[in-house]
Symmetry: C3
């Protein structure tokens, strides 16, 4: 069914579970019980609760850091227990598992091959109605990372997957790009939906306008003065607002979804 | 002494240490230095500080996710440095290490075999008085997970272990179950001390009463309307109060220990 | 160049990245892609943002828990993207990677051998200007933990490294030691810059004065009454202020950098 995926034993977990509760630990217990040689990596568990869009962004911008052969399990699943499907996708020699809620279409390219998991062929014998990460996705990932055939637990998806939010949403006009805050990271850096491509590839000659302020671009945090707000291309390849030695989220008072305009400087 | 435990190399860590400090990392360093092939799993480190009861609950409801042969290290240890004993327990082909503070009796079945660790036979040469997780439990776990004999570092416990809080505390009368909030999880879901067994096995026909509101049961989060409070059987096998797309802890204003009544609906 | 380092395959990560974002996960992806047998340990990711001093303290007080052969990667890097150097250090058969910002000199002994990494010989082909943890340090660590030669990617450091903050800063006079709060841990315990050495090796006969209160020493938390403030030698080997069953940070209202005086009791 899919000759292009050869597992390397790595299973990368991406969820909105946080790390205070035993939810992630239970998934790892199930994975290791079924595939003792699994090398499990926490990609991130701090996706804001039920925020499919940020989950898709984290996956899209992190997957190239992992080798071909990696199985990704992305569980941001507000619809758990409903009739929503469970998807598998193969792209670039990596395999992805996630609920059918738009996460994979937003994170992957259009050429990804999509499959529908059959829970009856991979779930734990007694599965709950509220935790398919542990009861369906973990045993499916163990099976696949251990070299089990995808077509033993899934079939090609009929029809289109559920559409997802765009992680690249911007609105462009001449010399102007309307973007928004996608999320604030641990440092309070504000990651925007815009990328340098939206600015013709190069942010030089542009500024950001947000919270009533004009904010200039720099090449790296260290070029800004201490306490100074700046815009830059970050390690996600996105445009980001930051405050040197401070928190842009706190200083600018901006939150997820708030608008930011990027404008070309007058000559 | 105990023929029923064959280690599989997995060591699962459960603590109230949080993840911001290097406490968990130091335990892992000691474990790997003594048993390089250990496969270490974080079960959870977000037990509320010194909350033995929640620690016991996390262990009780997570251990079945791990394969036989797992060594669990559960360090919620307000009495560290005092004369409290350090216990080992064997049950269902899994081995458990914890201070003698009620955690293991609350988490395990009455048929668990109990042992008392001899720190002089397993601790690091220079052990602190305040961090036995690193200085005693980690080297003991390394020894046991690597196939070392339990009777080389422990002896059968004489007398009863220290009694613990019940993770199932409820008070029942006709058509009524008095329970309480055990903890709020990462989503703000309120996990109660009651289980479906307390309702005769099936929550249909019951409602929850809390914070002056009557809250109906659903089968899964997705059956509630957005923003609606609901009660359901969660992935721990417990009864839980949740708010769809929101936080029950915040919406209902309930905290750990607050009372909740489950009442049979009138016919 | 350095015959004394034989890798054992363990890579310990210490950062100020937090765990909510995928930054740590991306580093692990890169590490495993380049060295699949790496055994990666999270030493800690909760260093306060850009606090080189606390990062140095965590490293200094944790490294002995790890076996010889460990590669430590310490990324607290406010100067990322500037001209600051990237250092490697070898000491006691362990290898350390960090930016040249004072972290390593503060954490290691003066006899550590210091090297300067050549990013062009170890970085990912396309490296960002803002995330050298992923793009330079992770591939360098993979190379070194896998047995690659240090002199293939680094050369001996010419000149002195950038000086760092002291993690032991105290001012002593007769019967008096002026110290400060280095950080508050997960429990609200206040770790000071002083150690028992500053008190002649033994804190008996001393008291702490902070927030207008005199606080006596105990041997371990369990010796204090519930809710009582106490001072003790903690598992870092530092002097710490704690409140039994509570948070010293909250109860005493003290923060990082606040002064504390240790005074010998009158006879």
């Amino acid at each position: 069914m899919d000759a292009r995926f050869e597992p390397n034993g790595v299973v990368a977990l991406l969820t909105d579970f946080g790390l205070s509760d035993p939810y992630v630990g239970q998934m790892k217990g199930v994975l290791l019980a079924r595939f003792p040689a699994a090398r499990i990596v926490d990609l991130a568990h701090g996706v804001p609760p039920q925020d499919v869009r940020v989950g898709a962004f984290f996956l899209a911008r992190s997957r190239a850091s992992f080798a071909p052969g990696t199985v990704f399990v992305a569980v941001v699943d507000p619809g758990v227990g409903s009739e929503r499907k469970l998807l598998a996708a193969v792209e670039d020699e990596r395999l992805y598992l996630a609920p059918d809620n738009g996460l994979l279409p937003a994170a992957l390219d259009a050429r990804a091959l999509l499959f529908e998991l059959d829970p009856d062929r991979c779930a734990l014998p007694a599965r709950s109605r509220t935790f398919h990460g542990r009861d369906v996705f973990a045993p499916a990932a163990a099976w696949l990372a251990n070299g089990g055939a995808l077509d033993a637990i899934a079939r090609p998806l009929h029809g289109a997957p559920t559409g997802g939010p765009s992680i690249r949403a911007v609105r462009r006009s001449v010399g102007e790009v309307h973007t928004e805050v996608l999320f604030a990271d641990h440092y309070g850096n504000l990651v925007l939906t815009a990328t340098p491509d939206d600015l013709g590839g190069d942010p030089r000659g542009w500024r950001a306008e947000a919270a009533g302020r004009a904010i200039g671009f720099v090449g790296t945090y260290a070029e800004a003065g201490s306490g100074e707000a700046c815009a830059l291309v970050d390690s996600f390849g996105s445009i980001e607002l930051a405050v040197r030695d401070g928190s842009a989220a706190a200083e600018l008072g901006l939150h997820r979804g708030d608008p930011v305009v990027l404008r070309r400087n007058p000559c």
